[in-house]
Amino acid sequence: MTTDAIDSAQTPRHEEGTNYINAEYGLLSWLFTIDHKRIAILYMISVTALFFVGGIFALLLRLELMTPQGDLFTSDTYNKLFTLHGVVMIFFFLIPAVPSVLGNFILPLQLGARDLAFPKINLLSWYLYVIGALMGVVVMLLGGVDTGWTFYTPFSTTYSNTWVVPTVLAGFIAGFSSILTGLNFIVTIHKMRAPGLTWFRLPLMVWALYGTSLIQLLATPVLGIALLLIAVERLWQVGIFNPALGGDPILFQHLFWFYSHPAVYIMILPAMGVISEVIACFSRRKIFGYKFVAFSSLAIAFLGFLIWAHHLFVAGISVYSAMIFSFLTMFVAVPSAIKTFNWTSTLYKGSVSYEAPMLYALGFIGMFLIGGLTGLFLATLGIDIHVHDTYFVVAHFHYVMVGSVIMAYFAGIHYWWPKMTGRMYPEWWARLAALLVFVGFNLTFFPQFLLGYLGMPRRYHAYVPEFQVLNVMSTAGATILGAGYLLPLIYFVWALKYAPRASANPWGASGLEWHTPSPPTTHNFEDTPTVTWEAYDEKAWLKEAEKNV
């Protein structure tokens, strides 16, 4: 009772129709905002821009691969294209997409908080991201970089004569953006939950973001130092990683993958959180096995740190350590399978409806199943040695990082779009886009499993003629996929102005974010809500809502 009284004394009641978007006007009001919702929008605009930049590189790669001989680009240019595609998509799209856009917007709302714990640090992290991204763009304009997104030494430190130093510094800076976001989320989840919102009443998105943040905090600094050491080695011509000077190239691979394997979970964990929300909402059921899903997020975050050396099976690590890392890698499939099992069990006897977010979520489960199971193939030592550095690996990680994560990102964007903008979106077009993405993606990447199994190596601009049919299929799929990604951009912009207005809770979903108007006011909640119901129990929630009216 005291919080209510204090709250209303402190923050004046907002006039009807005032929200976080129209609270202030002008570019500066956005560039200097410390409102987590506005920062989320800033992130959304910037990651979308970078997504299409990375997408253009992908399209050029697929164009080159239409024919067996290298005809569009020289091999050097091709090297730069796949490097820039990887760097942009991973560091500037996939890592920030779900946490920094959706998490930023939704986390405080789901917690019943007025903002993240450190609003200024939140804005700082966006600026760091932008500085990193701009450095990346400058690298492109200067002529690019050709090391692959993995920056393997000693090529990156000694032999490459492209713009390695600015690229690694861009990654370093973007890394700090990611660390600060994770730090902000963890403290917010610990300290800013609404009264009554105990840990086991939290939406599963929050658990997923918690696991994600832990990884961001614990893994990213290791990459930061590894990247700095590359710069040191290049600038002073010393040999930390260069065997010719007494260094150890495998050391770099250990440091790099100590981050970059868990980084996959920075992408997929929050994506799984989105899927839990969407599945619960559109099957009108509580998530089956809530605690299992919650703890599996933490289990994935933890196990994710113990399996990095599966990227080094052919790099010269000992057979025994390879065996242990192989075993642990398979072990991480357990919590992932628990999640998938619980989502499908939630669907069973649920009253499922197929709005666009749900289509994306179902697509996610399909893609994640393929991506996850082929991960088990790769964890097996013998198979990994056979398909190492082939398109099998490329297909596998695209199924997980692109197929699954972008599906989930789109599921989340559609699901929370009414909350973010106060408008609905055109449902029919959205369903069409979901279908295009699903078909396009599978047509692009399923043939690559076959190509890899047949032995087509990755990162070459030419290949033997036998592989052309599958490559043409892949390029055709990429074209459909491109259309599927472009379509939402068009109808979302349209929807900002012309789509019907959204109510506070258009989906009839549970979760505190639906407890406040669409779009919310700057302070999120007029009165700090008190939570008396379990997660996803929308019947109790509705009763509560009736009492309050």
Partner: protein, 228 residues
């Protein structure tokens, strides 16, 4: 109501319910940040251990010992004492803030800053000596010991400059933070119910000290008795 005073405090940010919540968030945030910092220094310690152990190149074991003989233990020890003293002044500063003693608080903050600057000056003198003796890694590196130890000797100095450089960078940030804290202290911002910024900055400062406590033996005291 005791809480009521908290909710009206000028330092309370709009998104917190009361000062307790704000304090808890700030402190927890710093602890998590320090965890990140451990992982930030961690790879360098790991790299040091890898090369120092000689598991890649057995000659590195002796090379590291030989290289550490070029270190100035007196200056290193002085710096260790300076930093431990500064940790004491920081801790006392927090205590004086908690007990509303402004003048001793300001004094402690000034002493902390002086210690920090002294550390950097001494570090600079050491770096200068290394440059003079051509111990900076790269093209200009010159090794006057046994030639078969030259590679390992250079590796030692790469790690030395990376680790102490990163540490010195943290010191510079820390000095910046404490200048800001000092200005706020002189403005009477702190009192027994609002001192968490000092405590949180102090946590950072202690962390940077502790890093040095590890660096000093690793880089100066590997085997001083074997020097002849």
């Amino acid at each position: 109501m005791s809480e009521h005073a908290d909710t009206a405090h000028p330092a309370l940010r709009h998104h917190f319910d009361d000062l307790n919540q704000q304090h808890a968030a700030g402190t927890l945030g710093m602890w998590f940040f320090l965890v990140t910092e451990i992982l930030f220094f961690g790879p360098l310690f790991f790299t040091y251990a890898l090369f120092r152990s000689g598991s890649l190149d057995p000659s590195f074991q002796n090379a590291f010992i030989a290289a550490s003989h070029h270190q100035n233990i007196t200056l290193g020890l002085t710096n260790t004492i300076v930093l431990i003293a500064s940790s004491l002044t920081v801790a006392l500063g927090v205590y004086f803030a908690q007990t509303n003693k402004k003048k001793p608080l300001v004094l402690m903050l000034v002493l902390t800053l002086l210690c920090g600057v002294a550390f950097l000056v001494i570090k600079g003198i050491e770096y200068n000596q290394h440059f003079a003796h051509h111990l900076f890694p790269g093209q200009g590196f010159h090794w006057d010991g046994a030639p078969e130890l030259a590679r390992g000797g250079q590796m030692f100095y790469i790690l030395y400059f990376c680790m102490t450089g990163l540490h010195a960078f943290h010191m510079v940030i820390g000095i910046g933070i404490f200048i800001y804290i000092l200005m706020r202290a002189m403005r009477n911002d702190f009192s027994s119910d609002y001192y968490v910024p000092i405590e949180v900055s102090g946590l950072y400062w202690h962390f940077v000290d502790i890093v040095w406590i590890f660096l000093f033996p690793m880089l100066y005291l590997i085997d001083p008795a074997s020097k002849h």
